[in-house]
């Protein structure tokens, strides 16, 4: 058998071996003591308990996100059971809102929320798409970073600041300039009847549109960037113009994702509170006129919650909050699924 401690000698060792006849292979047949470093390391434990506790702690914190959602759901249901029992599902199709007599119905708020959100989407989506197209396909490289930075700044402005600006700039603008103009040009549509005090559905929709623009635009940009360049090149190679390349090579591939981006904007619009509250007029009316004051689900909570005397009043407002919670969760879940389907693998933008 081979003498395994011969340095440099060739020691043929067969694969099917039983070389256990060799002397003890652990260190100390030489005169070298086990070093301090080795002693220290050999004495350390396996750290299994620490590893397991650490992993458990991280898992617990991750699950806290589930807990937060479930907790909100649970507490909203618990605190709205009074009005749930009193009105049932009809709560959302009744047009009453009379705290004095205890008669509550959420239809005006649903109307206000939907009207402002959809109107805001109608204004915001074309602009957001335009900006996204511009930034991803048409913008000269050096301008790209500053302009996208500016549009991110738009997203960072707090709601209350938008509201402040809307109250002192947009409302007078609507009252004195924009409103009369709209009446003159589009009065035939009967959408602009009635007195115009500057506040109302239209003003709220405009400020809402400004606020949801950044999110629609930035997610659309992410989606468009996720389309591989090979798609663009293939269409260009067929002799397409730039717009055709964008339309066929990029937009067609990202349709689903763009719908998702729009839905995310919708989700944001449905829940937007402060700026809307400051310019919508806060009157539970359902009217065809865009100048009429309105009320949204979020606004009624913001305005009346702290003064809600009486359990039924409080419970009704909580029920409205519950509805808002569920609707935004569903809209956001569907939207995120759509966006994920298109940008699969690429990290999604936090917004």
């Amino acid at each position: 058998m081979s003498a395994e401690r011969e340095h440099g000698a060739t020691s043929p060792v067969k694969p099917t071996v039983s070389v256990v006849s060799a002397p003890k292979e652990t260190q100390v047949t030489t005169t070298e003591p086990v070093s301090q470093v080795r002693q220290f390391l050999n004495a350390r434990g396996s750290g299994l308990i620490a590893d397991r506790s650490f992993a458990a702690l991280m898992l617990a914190c991750a699950c806290s996100i589930f807990l937060i959602v479930l907790f909100i759901f649970w507490i909203l249901i618990k605190n709205s059971h009074l009005s749930l029992n009193a009105f049932g599902w009809k709560f959302f199709v009744r047009e009453a809102w009379d705290p004095v007599s205890g008669d509550f119905g959420a239809l005006p708020f649903i109307y206000g929320t939907l009207a402002t959100s959809l109107l805001a989407l109608a204004m915001a989506v074309p602009l957001a798409l335009g900006v996204a197209i511009f930034l991803t396909e048409l913008c000269p490289r050096p301008l790209r970073a500053p302009i996208s930075f500016l549009s991110e700044l738009l997203a960072a402005i707090p709601s209350v600041v938008y509201g402040l600006w809307a109250v002192f700039v947009l409302v007078p603008l609507m009252r004195d300039t924009l409103g009369p103009f709209l009446v003159k040009t589009f009065g035939w549509t009967k959408l602009f009847d009635g007195p115009n005090f500057g506040v109302g559905i239209l003003t709220a929709s405009i400020i809402l549109a400004i606020m949801i623009l950044p999110i629609i635009s930035s997610i659309t940009r992410d989606i468009m960037k996720a389309v591989p360049n090979s798609q663009r090149e293939a269409v260009l190679a067929l002799g397409a113009t730039r717009w055709e390349m964008i339309r066929i090579g990029v937009l067609r591939n990202s349709r689903i994702g763009i719908v998702g981006a729009i839905m995310l904007g919708l989700g944001r619009a449905l829940g937007e509170t402060m700026a809307v509250t400051m310019v919508i007029g806060n009157h539970p009316d359902i009217s065809k006129s865009l100048f009429a004051p309105g009320y949204t689900l979020a606004s009624v909570i913001a305005n009346e919650f702290s003064e809600a005397t009486g359990d039924l009043y409080y419970s009704s407002l909580i029920e409205i909050g519950l509805a808002l919670f569920l609707v935004t969760i569903v809209v956001n879940a569907i939207a995120r699924l759509m966006v994920w389907a298109v940008t699969r693998g690429a990290p999604s933008r936090i917004s």
């Binding site: 750290g47 960072a156 209350v160 113009t241």
Partner: protein, 301 residues
Amino acid sequence: MSTQPLQSQSLGDPRKPSRVNILRRSISDHIVTGLAILATILVLAPLAAILFYLVYKGASSLNLAFFTHIPAPVGEEGGGMANAIVGSGIILALASLMGIPVGIAAGVYLAEFGSGTFLGNAVRFTADVLNGVPSIVMGIAIYSLIVKPHPPYSAFAGGVALAIMMVPTVTRTTEEMLVTVPHAVREAALGLGVPKWRTVLSVSLRTASPGIITGCMLAFARVAGETAPLLFTAFGNQFWSLRLDQPIAALPLQIYVYAISPYDEWHRLAWAGSLVLIALIMVSVTLVRIFANRGVLKGGS
């Protein structure tokens, strides 16, 4: 065989589009380009308008008194928003203390333990969905949990409401930053016999820390401007208060109250307050932009 140039499309070389066709497409191309540029201008215009107006209205009202005095009684001149600035600071500190560690831990789970698992995907999805819940809903939920059973309104309740808003954002940015740490670096630590928990803390987190910090700043900037969740938790306070179990002033809250009030003096303060708020947020967003690039480069190989 005719050698005349052909006018009608049906007789022309099928591979070559007619002149009319090319012209039409070229016009569409230019129209769309113009529309896109117009859209961009229309989008940036309100931003410019708001910022300009803010500076114009707010700067003139900013003086030392603004930062050192509490609001003056109605009708009197002067006064400031010092209590609101400090109050916001306290609430935000509370929220960060509660929300950031939980968020980072959840992000660590997603990147280091649960990546690719069903639970991990579910957590990530839920965090994204939670980000979209209106902040007023958070406010009334925390009101029902903390304020209603234990009145009065309190800074603590405000902190909790903002904390649960920070958690999803911090979670996702932490995960994204940890994912950029190359696997080879983790292997180096594991190969040295470093236990996993130590590898995560001293290697992964340390390498990704610039990006994680900026993610926290992003979450911080986002909740710093939130008003709705504070309406029924912190509630606001006209006077100095540093107590955690009493109502406390907050900058966005105060701006809201002043904005909808009928007093010009308070409107002035609202503009000044907005300017301060925006300035703080803009600084954070800019820092995030600068650090985000450096963070990824530093954590990369």
